[in-house]
Symmetry: C2
Subunit: 507 residues, 2 copies
C-alpha cells in the first residue's frame, strides 16, 4: 500500500508522528443523493425564488450593480431574471489557485482537490486545562502555531477565535499580521466589511512580497461571505464581497440555511433557499469582476424542533452536504462543506457528528472542508483537543482516498504460497519490505491492548489529544520571514491602527 | 421530510425516544473503490490461490465432500478447480429470509436490505459502573434485554459475551434458551462444533413452534463461520457449517484476514486471501446442500506494524469493507461487514473508528452489519454504553438512507415567499405542520447549548449512555412466549445438559 509518509524531519516535535503535507485528491465517485430530476427541480425552484421573491440587498452599491445587470430593484428588494443569472455565473472559474508563503503549500481549489481548513470564527476557545473561556491574543497565536504544525491542515480559517484582550476595532489587524508571520500556509481573509477585507488583501500582498496587481493575477485570499438567510445580503458582507472580488480574490458564498429556523423545515426547501442565495452571491461577484474566483458554500443543517437549538452532523446535515455538492457541480463551481458538531465536549458525540459531517463533505465531493479541525459547540468554540481529534479523522480520510494498488507485487500470491495454510506473515519478506510504510499510523488513536492501556493510566482520546497539542505547540517551528516583509507588516499594522484609532478603544 | 417515527408505545421506557423498528433499505449507489479490472484481478488471484496453494481442511467429512466434487486432495490439503468453484457457488441464493418469533421482525438478507446485528463473541463485558470484567449469566441476560429494547438492532449476534459463572460445556444452552425466551427478534446461532450448531437449530425450531423440516423450508438460524486464515478450515467450524447447511440454515463465511499477521501486509493480498477462503467455504455449503443460504463475510483489517496489535476502523479497514462489497456482489452473495474499533473506552476514538467502519459497510453495500452495536476493544469486550452510542449512529445511518423528497410541498416556495427576506420559519404554518416529524431526534446526543449543558452537570455522551441503557433494561418488556414452548425449551436444555454432563463440570 505504501501510503504513509511520516514526518521524520520533525525538529522539536518530540515523538509525534503525522502524515507529511500532501495535496489530497478525491478520485472516488461522488455520492449522489438527489436524482437528476430532483436536482433540476431544486435548480428551477431557486431561480423561481430569485425571480419572484427576490433578495433583500442592503448595500446601495450592490443594488446598483444588480440594477445595471437588468434586475428589477424595488426599494431594497432585488429580483433576478433566470437567464441573466445563468449567463452571469458562466464567467466564474471552475478551479483556481490560492498562493501561500511557501509555494509548495499553494492550494488548488476545485476539480478533485480537497482542502482541509482549520476552524474560523468562534467566540470562545477551550482546552482540558482551562475549560471554555474567551480567548486571548497569546492563546490565539498558540492556536495558529498548532495549525501551522499539523500537516493535514492545508489552510487557516480566518481566525480560530476572537482575541478578547485586544480592542475590537483593530484586533483583526493583529490576527492578520500573526497569520502572515506564524504560518507559511494559506490563510483565509475576513469579508466582514470593506475595511477588514481590504486589510486582509493588503497584508496578504505584503506577506507575499507583491502588490494588489500581483495578487489579482495570482490570488491568495479566500474569505467566507455569509448571506443573511432568508434571502438577505447585509451591508458588511456585500462590502467585503465587493472589495475581494474587485481585487480578484476569492469568496465563498455560504448561506446558513438552518432548516426550521431561517429556512423551511424540509431539506428540499432549505436547499432551494441555499441555492438561490448562493446564486445571487455568485452573480454579484461576476458583476463586480467577471472571472473573479468564487465557491459554492453549503451550510444547511436543522434545528432541534423541541428546543430551537441548532443541530449539526445529523442525517439531514449529511444529506444536505451531499446534495449541495450536486448543486455546486451543476454550476461548475468549487464546493465548500464543513466539519461540524453540536457537542459541548470532545467526546463520542463530537466524533460521530464530525464523522457524519466529513463523510457528507468528502463523499459529497467537497473541494474545501471549512472548520475541518477544531470546531466544537456548534461553532461557538475552538477546541485545542478537538483540533487534534479532527486531524486524526482528516488523516484517515486522506489515506482512505488513496487508490488501492492491485498488481502482482501487492497480491503477493507467491508470498501467500510460501507462508502456506496456518502460517504467519509477520516475518515474511513480503511483509518485512513493507514494514515502515504498509499501513496508516495514527496520531491520537491508541491501539494497545486493554491491559497495557489500563496499566499506563487509562488515558482517553481527549486526554491524549491534550498532550499532543501541547507537544506540537512546544515544537512549533516558526517559518522564516524576510526581515523587510516583517517590517512592512509591522508598519502597515501600526498605520492602520492609527487610522482606526478613533474607535479603537479597548472594551 | 417526515422521516421520524418515534416509539410512542414505550410502556415503562421512561422518557427515552427512539426510532421505531424498521426494515432499513439502502437504495444509494455503492461506493466502488476497486476499478472493474482490479476486481477481476482479485477474483482471478483468489481462484489461483485455491487451485495452486489450496486450503488445509482438517475435518475428514469436508475433505471427502471436496474430493467427490473433483478437488485434488493430498493429506489435509484441498486444491480447487476454478470452474468447479464458479459452477458450485451458482446455487447459493442471492437473497433469503430469516424467521423471527415476531413475524414482523423477520429479516430479509440480501438485495438492498440492511440488517444491524448486535455484538457477538467477546470474552468480557463492561460498563461505567463496574468496569471491564468477565460477565455473568445475569449480566448476559441484561445485555439481551437491552438488545431486545433497542429498535434499530434487528438481530442478536449469537451471544454478546461469555457467562463465566456457568459451566463452559453447557453455557451455550443457557444462552440459546435466553435468546429464545427474552427476544422476539432473530438471533444468530453458534457454528463452533456440531453440538452447538445442532443445539442452535433445535432451539430455534422449538421457539418457532416448528421442526427441522419447517426450519429448512423457512430458515431462522444464521451463524458466523470463521476460516482459520491463512487458508485453513478447522474441525469445529467445518462441523458447524455442515450441520447448519444440511439443515438449510444460513452461514456467513468470514475469514479474519488481518493484514500483516495472518494475511499479507497489502490490501490486495489480504483481499485475495479473503476471497479465496470465502469461496472455499461457500463451495462447501453448496456441496452439503445446494441452495443453502450463505453470506460473503469480510473482516479484513490490519495490524499496527510497530506492536502487532490489531487495528480497526482504519482507512485500510474502510477500503477493505467497500472492496469486499464489490467482491460479494460479483458472486451475487449477500454481504456482511462489521462495526469495529480498537478503542479501550467509549470515547472519541471509539466513535470515529466505528464511524469509519459503518461508512465502509453502508457505502460498501453491506446487507448485514455484524457487531453493529456494543463492540469495544477490538471485539474482546461487549460494552453496555457502546451499544447505546452505536444505536445512535445506526439510527442516524437509517435516517440518512431515507430518500430525499423534492416536491411542491417540501420545496415550500410559497412559504418562503410568505416569510420573506429576513423573516423566520419557526412559527410558519409550513414548519408547524411538520413540527413532530421534521427531523431526526437523537437518542444520546445532547444538542443543548453549552451553558445549559454545563449547568446540568457537563454530562458527557458515555455517561448519558450509561443512564440510557439502565432505563432501557429497567423498562424491558418480555415478549409473550407460549407456555408449551417455554416448557419444551426448558426440557430440551435440561436433557442436553445431562447429555453433555460428563464434561460439564464448572471450571
Amino acid at each position: 500500500m505504501a501510503r504513509i509518509r511520516p514526518d521524520r524531519s520533525g525538529r522539536g516535535r518530540g515523538t509525534i508522528s503525522q502524515l507529511a503535507w500532501r495535496d489530497v485528491v478525491n478520485q472516488r465517485p461522488h455520492t449522489e443523493v438527489l436524482r437528476p430530476e430532483q436536482l433540476e427541480d431544486l435548480h428551477e425552484a431557486s431561480l423561481q425564488l430569485l425571480a419572484h421573491t427576490g433578495m433583500r440587498v442592503l448595500e446601495p452599491g450592490a443594488r446598483e450593480r444588480f440594477r445595471r445587470a437588468g434586475c428589477a430593484v424595488l426599494d431594497d428588494r432585488v429580483r433576478f431574471d433566470p437567464d441573466m443569472v445563468m449567463e452571469t455565473i458562466r464567467t466564474a472559474p471552475s478551479t483556481f489557485t490560492l498562493r501561500a508563503r511557501n509555494p509548495q503549500r499553494n492550494l488548488t481549489v476545485g476539480g478533485n482537490h480537497l482542502i482541509f481548513t482549520a476552524i474560523g470564527g468562534p467566540a470562545f476557545c477551550s482546552d482540558l486545562d482551562h475549560g471554555r473561556r474567551p480567548g486571548t491574543f497569546a492563546e490565539q497565536r498558540d492556536f495558529l502555531r498548532l495549525i501551522q504544525s499539523v500537516n493535514i491542515i492545508h489552510q487557516e480559517g480566518g481566525g480560530p477565535f476572537e482575541a478578547m484582550d485586544l480592542p475590537a476595532e483593530t484586533r483583526h489587524l493583529d490576527l492578520l499580521a500573526s497569520l502572515a508571520q506564524l504560518l507559511d500556509k494559506n490563510w483565509q481573509g475576513i469579508a466582514l466589511g470593506r475595511e477588514r477585507a481590504a486589510d486582509s488583501i493588503d497584508i496578504a500582498a505584503i506577506a507575499l512580497g507583491t502588490d494588489r496587481d500581483g495578487l489579482a493575477a495570482e490570488p491568495a485570499v479566500l474569505a467566507i461571505v455569509n448571506t443573511n438567510t432568508p434571502l438577505s445580503l447585509d451591508i458588511p458582507m456585500a462590502e467585503g464581497l465587493t472589495e475581494l472580488s474587485e481585487a480578484g480574490q476569492a469568496v465563498c458564498i455560504t448561506p446558513f440555511t438552518l432548516a426550521g429556523a431561517m429556512a423551511p423545515a424540509t431539506l428540499a426547501g432549505a436547499l432551494a433557499l441555499q441555492n438561490a442565495e448562493v446564486l445571487a452571491g455568485v452573480v454579484l461577484t461576476q458583476l463586480v469582476r467577471p472571472g473573479a474566483p468564487v465557491m459554492y458554500g453549503s451550510f444547511t443543517s436543522n434545528v432541534d424542533m423541541r428546543s430551537g437549538s441548532p443541530a449539526f452532523g445529523t442525517p439531514e446535515y449529511t444529506l444536505a452536504a451531499q446534495a449541495g455538492g450536486q448543486l455546486a457541480r451543476r454550476y461548475g463551481l468549487p464546493y465548500r462543506s464543513s466539519n461540524t458538531t453540536a457537542a459541548n465536549s470532545v467526546d463520542a458525540q463530537a466524533a460521530y457528528e464530525s464523522a457524519m459531517s466529513l463523510w457528507g463533505a468528502i463523499a459529497g465531493g467537497a473541494n474545501l472542508v471549512n472548520h475541518a479541525a477544531g470546531w466544537l459547540e456548534g461553532g461557538l468554540t475552538a477546541s485545542f483537543e478537538k483540533l487534534v481529534v479532527d486531524a486524526e479523522m482528516l488523516q484517515m480520510m486522506a489515506e482512505y482516498l488513496q487508490p488501492i494498488v492491485v498488481d502482482e507485487d501487492s497480491l503477493g500470491l507467491a508470498a501467500i504460497d510460501e507462508v502456506g495454510p496456518g502460517g504467519h506473515f509477520f516475518a515474511s519478506p513480503h511483509t518485512m519490505t513493507r514494514f515502515e510504510t504498509a499501513f496508516y499510523q495514527p496520531l491520537v488513536s491508541d491501539w494497545r491492548n486493554y491491559e497495557t492501556w489500563a496499566e499506563s493510566g487509562s488515558i482517553d482520546t481527549t486526554q491524549r489529544a491534550n498532550r499532543i497539542w501541547k507537544q506540537l505547540v512546544a515544537g512549533y517551528d516558526e517559518p522564516t520571514l524576510d526581515a523587510a516583509i516583517d517590517e512592512q507588516l509591522t508598519e502597515f499594522v501600526a498605520r492602520r491602527k492609527i487610522e482606526l484609532g478613533s474607535t479603537g478603544a479597548q472594551r
